[in-house]
Symmetry: C2
Subunit: 328 residues, 2 copies
């Protein structure tokens, strides 16, 4: 029998999950839940239902794992604890500083309901966290580096779009190649914010806007841009649509460590992602962990988990025998 | 209380494990067991015992996890099932094709004794296997690539040393940069053995040996060299000692996959290691899994496991709370 998947929220991430279900033959999409008028929503999967979020409770016995595709700022802190009372749930909560708090709230709901919840699933937090953790457990005497990009930062793009005179904007975070090379060389450099990443903005102006003033406001914006070298390009609507409508991302996690009787040997562990579509890739990670949640629930487990708590084999559709014979 | 570690076999790997114990404050080295005369063995750790392998049974209650540092060809198939009858054990069994058989033998012993065994721990099998598995579970429609090196292959070095007229030899496996670049570009190339790796040999000849004949025998050796482009250098004892006594290694695991409604987006996951000392790095991985074995045993689990079966958090000395707060 297939794992019946539900999706709450049908933005880029929800659509990505829908596409990813089709690449996993042991899963099927049961329903998509939306805050919009369900009649207005067109989805790809003819066999799946579209329903309003108000009807979710009626699906309690018809969905094995609910993938919650809301935003971390206001949606997930409310949604994940709420829906963990009825379903096994997965989310991609990515406000790193608030993870302990979110974990506690979700754990309480999921334990009380006897359901499994896996939070902060994706690539950072998610696969990058896993790599930081494995690398730290192995090279105990070492130093960590994370670089993001080249890719689109939604938060920074939004910040630019809020400036008066800006019609549209996209911001790319770009790792500084010389910094990456210095880390890879084993020099263990101390790097400032400015030395690690550059920010590049492509901006479409409203008619009559003052380009110099917009550029100044971007470059001096505290937290978002002031601590970085920022490049601003002004382009037209057409070029924006043609070259800047994708959502690529990626990055690098490195750990450099020493071993030996006197720390005489150096080692570098590097993990990197190069993604054409950030939401589609994140969706694939969410579904692998949905499979894990399904299995853990069948085993009678409950409560909140993170990627640190899930044995890798739970993610794979292959059996233990197959994995040992083909991938070990 | 510390995790009491035992080491069976005191070659490069055993010495690496001894060094690594000193980098893990929650562990202590209890004893090293050797097939040599224990009196003849000098170890670094003044507080640890040195004993003959014949005395191992007497240590049944004084060691929490035994790290078995024998070879995969003849030692481990016999040692790991045997010692799993008395101890929680870890090994680095790396004959990929025989893993299912080894797993079955070790599982039987460990289950009967109520002990935990974790086999095939290291980086390949081990960390590379983990990365293949995670990447396959996430990008279900994709292609895998593994490159090894630059690094020393002991098996190939041994093969060269067996040629008549060769006094000493070291063989380096080198990934072909253009092949690696083609994979990273997302082209999904089909690569032959020759296109993926080059082999470079540094050979010290016996006096009066025929260099041209040795070179011919190396380059035409079936399985080891015939399918590769091989470079042979003849050097003196001094240069050999100065430049070729280290045991570096490393490699790359990549998976390229597609997502989207019509597979229109490509993604590349890459994991790589650059290691000054293959045995010392492998030792660090063994000890992280020794911590996991200790904890699984305390939980009452038993039987044979691989890296696929162990939740990442078990490897870390940090608590779940600490991990979530600092690494997620």
């Amino acid at each position: 029998m297939s794992i019946r998947i539900g999706i709450i929220g049908y933005g880029n991430l929800g659509r990505g999950v829908e596409c990813a279900v089709r690449q996993n033959p042991d899963m099927e999409l049961a329903a998509v839940f939306t805050r919009r008028n369900p009649e207005s929503l067109k989805i790809f999967t003819p066999t799946a239902a579209v329903a309003g979020v108000g009807e979710i409770a009626q699906w309690k016995d018809k969905i094995d794992v609910m993938v919650i595709c809301g935003g971390s700022a206001t949606d997930l802190p409310r949604q994940t604890p709420e829906y963990a009372k009825m379903f096994n749930v997965i989310d991609s909560f990515d406000t790193h500083a608030k993870i302990p708090e979110h974990f506690a709230a979700v754990d309480k709901s999921a334990k009380a309901a006897g359901k499994v919840a896996i939070i902060s699933v994706g690539w950072d937090p998610g696969l990058f966290s896993l790599n930081r953790m494995y690398a730290n457990a192995i090279l105990t005497d070492g130093k960590d580096y994370t670089f993001w990009g080249k890719g689109v930062s939604q938060g920074h793009s939004d910040a630019v779009r809020r400036i008066k005179g800006v019609k549209n904007a996209k911001q790319y975070t770009i790792p500084v190649q010389s910094a990456l090379d210095a880390v890879r060389s084993g020099k263990n450099p101390d790097l400032t914010t400015r030395q690690k990443h550059t920010r590049e903005c492509f901006v479409v102006l409203e008619e009559g806007a003052n380009a110099a003033e917009v550029e100044r406001q971007i470059k001096e914006m505290p937290n978002y841009f002031a601590d970085y070298d920022t490049i601003v390009h002004f382009i037209g609507d057409e070029e924006f649509a043609e070259n800047h409508s994708a959502i690529p991302h990626g990055g690098f996690v490195l750990r450099c460590g020493k071993t030996g009787a006197n720390g005489e040997n150096s080692h570098i562990i590097e993990y990197s992602l190069k993604l054409d579509s950030n939401p589609e890739f994140t969706s694939c990670v969410l579904l692998a962990y949905a499979r894990a949640a399904y299995r853990l629930d069948k085993e009678g487990q409950s409560g909140c988990k993170t990627v640190f708590d899930i044995a890798p084999a739970y993610l794979s559709a292959k059996s233990g025998e197959e994995l040992r014979a083909t991938m070990l």
